[in-house]
């Protein structure tokens, strides 16, 4: 069996005249955490729903774990876990009852059920809350319960649709630790997000914008190949300077970070420090080349098609 768990070829999905996904191609390898990064409405959820067989592609092909979708969608169910964007377990059931319900649906035997639920409760720090109603828990707890339920049958493949949108940074960090544990055990994970820090943790990611894949690769590759220099400017009158800089054709964008201005200069100009110093009569002491961040990548490869 190949090590490719997902292969999507020329995947398209239209809702009436809206083209939610256009010609999407990508592959995910076993054990990888693959991220879809993009703003709201860029087609992340649609892409995940097509990969799980919940939506039919308008055209194109999807192969997941060697199964052709949507034909084999039912066979895929036992091998995958799906955590929806919104909490989708039962608010009026306790943590334990929710897990018992899901375990029975996946056909775990009574014995397996008990040991697996106890294991999950302790892994996800829910053993103190086993008898609490799911609806009365915090965002972070609900999300851990969601992950526990999605992995109860030890799926090979896990889909997480914006798993941490309702969670504070500390919980998000813990959550990702759990994801790396799963990945380490061989689970392949597809995650969608609009947080840069979250995307940066993925092994590989695709940047989506209005249904089109703008770039993909590992975060490092993306940063290396983004085709722009990042210069930080320390100066007074930053608002005015920003106006002047963005008017230059070589400058892609400029964004203020407190007392600094972060300027993306196209790599068509060889030495951005000299270039900026000449144009805006800035002292070279005020200019520093810095390491690009994923946000810089995101900004350079999107925004062209934005209205």
């Amino acid at each position: 069996m190949s090590d490719t768990v997902i292969r999507a070829t020329q995947l398209c999905r239209h809702f009436g005249s809206l083209k939610a996904i256009q010609n999407l191609n990508f592959e995910v390898e076993r054990g990888q955490i693959y991220g879809f990064l993009g703003p709201n409405g860029c087609g992340k959820t649609t892409a995940i729903r097509m990969l799980t067989g919940l939506l039919l592609p308008t055209s194109g092909e999807v192969e997941v774990l060697g199964l052709t979708l949507p034909r084999d969608a039912e066979k895929l169910r036992l091998k995958m876990g799906y955590m929806t964007q919104k909490f989708s377990l039962y608010d009026d059931l306790t943590v334990k009852e929710n897990l018992q319900f899901i375990a029975k649906i996946y056909g775990l035997s009574r014995h397996e059920q008990r040991s697996r639920i106890n294991e999950l409760l302790s892994t996800y720090g829910l053993d103190q809350r086993a008898g609490q109603l799911a609806g009365s828990m915090s965002g972070g707890q609900k999300q851990r319960l969601g992950l526990a339920a999605a992995t109860i049958h030890k799926p090979e493949l896990l889909f997480l649709d914006e798993p941490t949108s309702a969670v504070d940074p500390e919980n998000r960090r813990d959550f990702w630790e759990k994801l790396f544990d799963l990945s380490d055990q061989g689970t392949s994970i597809i995650v969608s997000t609009h947080y840069m820090d979250e995307a940066e943790r993925c092994h590989k990611l695709a940047i989506l914008e209005t249904g089109i894949k703008r770039a993909d690769g590992s975060p490092d590759e993306l940063m290396r190949n983004m085709g722009a220099h990042v210069v930080e400017v320390e100066s007074n009158n930053l608002r005015q300077l920003k106006q002047q800089l963005t008017a230059l054709p070589e400058v892609i964008t400029a964004a203020q970070l407190g007392s600094r201005l972060r300027v993306l200069v196209s790599d068509s100009c060889i030495d951005p420090i000299v270039f900026l110093a000449q144009h805006e009569s800035l002292d070279k002491q005020q200019l520093h080349i810095v390491r690009p961040s994923l946000e810089d990548v995101f900004v350079t490869c999107t925004g062209k098609g934005r209205q």
Binding site: R49, T52, G53, L54, L55, L56, P70, A73, E74, R77, L78, M80, Y82, T84, K86, F87, S88, L89, Y90, D91, D92, L93, E97, F101, I102, K104, I105, Y106, G107, A149
Partner: protein, 381 residues
């Protein structure tokens, strides 16, 4: 085996949710209790004490005795006196009285010549001797009230003249089976089982799938290995028990409070009721797969409920409806259940002998389940 396991998972989940939902659980008990009290005491087709007026143009002792004799029938109750027709008509129009008895000046003369009094004079075709004693002016818009007053047309007048009543031999002898005392409640209580089950069963299940969709649980459920039919069965099984509980409440109170006998066997009753409960539940499920939200599912439930009350034979006899309405009534599970339940409870019939209604309910259930399962798609298209 796996399928049974998954159905059981849905059933126990539904039961836990129902247990936590105090309001719904309260309704399960309170709806049959309250409706039974209301209908049992309130609905009465034996009309008594209709408010009427009188215009006494003769003002004699005889006319006053006549009024008292009419009052003694208990059909009407004299509440007003009028002195002319205009004010009487106005009172009828205002709805203060439903009818007015007009006693003419020559009431004594009319009475003695009236053949019902039987003073010995031979029946005559003479215009003068065949005149009625007095006249009723009736608000005929309500047919039940009009019929009750029309029933007074041939009331015996012999008491009026202190004569022994010489009852004439009727054309037909009538023997009333099953409800000889003609108590309305005997017919209402078994019918009420059908109405209450239609209401609660369709209402509960019509919200079943819609609620999961509204709360977002469905998006998770459809990514699991559960099959449509398993989900549908798991959703209706808990409510079958609820339905049986309600039937027990209705018939138990009907028996102890309203003295409605259960003449048929309990096993027969159980079988007929279970069939009807399943038919209603699957109808609810079909609604649930059509409705987009709980409000829509509620509206559709009412849409089914009203004809089930009015056309099923609960309120008005099926036989009296025009043929088109009978076709509609045939399509409703409630109609078939009304026949079955009244048959078993009141007439001790064997439901095997009513195989038409039995098989209709069974076929309805199977088709409903298939439609609901086909309509419920395990994707978000």
């Amino acid at each position: 085996m796996k399928a049974l396991y998954r159905i059981q998972a849905i059933v126990s989940k539904e039961l836990i949710q129902l247990k936590r939902d105090r309001m719904t659980f309260g309704m399960v008990i309170m709806i049959p209790l309250i409706q039974l009290m209301l209908f049992g005491f309130a609905i009465n087709t034996n009309i008594r004490d209709i408010p009427v007026g009188v215009i006494d143009q003769s003002q004699t002792a005889l006319s006053r005795v006549l009024v008292q004799t009419v009052r003694a029938t208990q059909v009407v109750k004299f509440t007003q006196h009028f002195y002319d027709i205009e004010s009487a008509n106005a009172a009828i129009a205002r709805g203060e009285v439903r009818a007015v008895l007009v006693i003419p000046e020559d009431v004594a003369q009319r009475l003695v010549r009236h053949q019902a009094v039987g003073l010995g004079s031979p029946p005559s075709t003479d215009e003068e001797t065949s005149r009625p004693v007095a006249q009723w002016i009736v608000d005929g818009s309500d047919t039940m009230i009009a019929a009750a007053i029309k029933g007074l047309r041939n009331m015996p007048l012999t008491e009026l003249l202190r004569l022994p009543s010489n009852r004439s031999t009727p054309t037909f002898e009538v023997a009333l089976f099953y409800n000889p005392e003609q108590r309305t409640v005997v017919n209402i209580v078994p019918g009420l089982v059908g109405v209450i089950l239609t209401m609660t069963m369709i209402m509960f299940t019509s919200a079943a799938i819609v609620r999961e969709r509204e709360r977002g649980n469905l998006e998770m459920l459809i990514t699991t290995p559960i099959r449509s039919m398993e989900l549908m069965l798991g959703k209706i099984i808990p409510y079958m028990f609820i339905g049986m509980l309600q039937v027990t409440i209705i018939l138990g109170i009907g028996y102890s409070l309203f003295n409605v006998p259960i003449n048929g066997s309990l096993a027969q009753l159980f079988g007929a009721t279970l069939l009807f409960i399943m038919a209603s539940l699957t109808l609810g499920l079909v609604i649930s797969t059509i409705a987009k939200n709980q409000l829509q599912s509620m509206q559709m439930t009412i849409f089914v409920l009203l004809p089930s009350i009015l056309l099923s034979g609960f309120m008005f006899p099926y036989e009296g409806m025009p043929i088109e309405a009978q076709y509609i009534a045939e399509a409703l599970p409630a109609t078939h259940f009304m026949r079955l339940v009244r048959g078993v409870i009141l007439r001790d019939v064997d439901i095997i002998d009513m195989s038409y209604d039995v098989s209709w309910l069974a076929i309805f259930t199977v088709i409903g389940l298939i439609i609901a399962s086909l309509r419920f798609k395990k994707n978000l298209e």
